[in-house]
């Protein structure tokens, strides 16, 4: 995801307006590696801007995802997680605390046993226990 300043420019160029709510979310997301849910972002945003609505959080997240600035990831935990890192990488989720960490794989695993399937992307999710929860 680009910087708040660059995003503001991009939004205006797309005919979208740059509101205080959106700017706040730009800041909360930029460089954020915690893979927060909409709910968590709403809580954070509410601290800085009491009264902001959950609906607006979802709206802005969807706008950013549509622009390719953000990816929405479903780990099957009930709510979607959002990731401003849209470069190719994979994830590891802790079974204990639910934290999601970025990981990289040496090379994409080779798929066997299925002919004629045109692979566009391979999503890998490691499940286990993170360093913090192990101690």
């Amino acid at each position: 995801m680009r910087s708040p300043a660059e995003l503001s420019q991009a939004f205006r160029q797309s005919g979208l307006k740059v509101t205080p709510q959106r700017q706040l979310l730009f800041r909360l997301l930029h460089g954020n590696t915690s893979h927060p849910s909409a709910d968590v972002l709403f809580a954070l945003a509410s601290q800085a801007m009491p009264g902001i609505s959950l609906r607006t959080v979802y709206q802005t997240l969807n706008d950013l995802a549509l622009m390719g600035e953000l990816q929405s990831i479903d780990f099957g935990t009930g709510s979607a997680r959002f990731d401003p890192n849209v470069t190719e990488h994979q994830h590891a989720m802790c079974n204990e605390c639910g934290a999601v960490h970025d990981v990289f794989v040496a090379d994409e695993p080779k798929m066997l046993g299925l002919d004629g399937f045109d692979v566009h992307a391979a999503q890998i999710v490691y499940h286990g226990v993170c360093a913090g929860c192990a101690s």
Copy 2:
């Protein structure tokens, strides 16, 4: 997942009853490689047994999953998919038709960039276009 006959025995031994509804689901699931959702199973079950309730389908699916006879997989498509194949394998989902196919990988991809994470399982989902939809 074991055969309907074996499952019936296992259910009784666990103090669970073997009802016509459960037997029907045993049959619908045994050897099923289509990764159906509860909804799809409910539709199939309703054909053979009009009046069966969606609640009962969910109940039986949960029972089987709890017994380790079935796995529930969330591909982020809204509803869970159920798989009577509980041996280690991976999946490929078609972006066009939503079909899920079983695949195998040569060897588990090596995780980089995260120290101290104890990996219990690695889930891989290939996204792309299946042979049928390509033509």
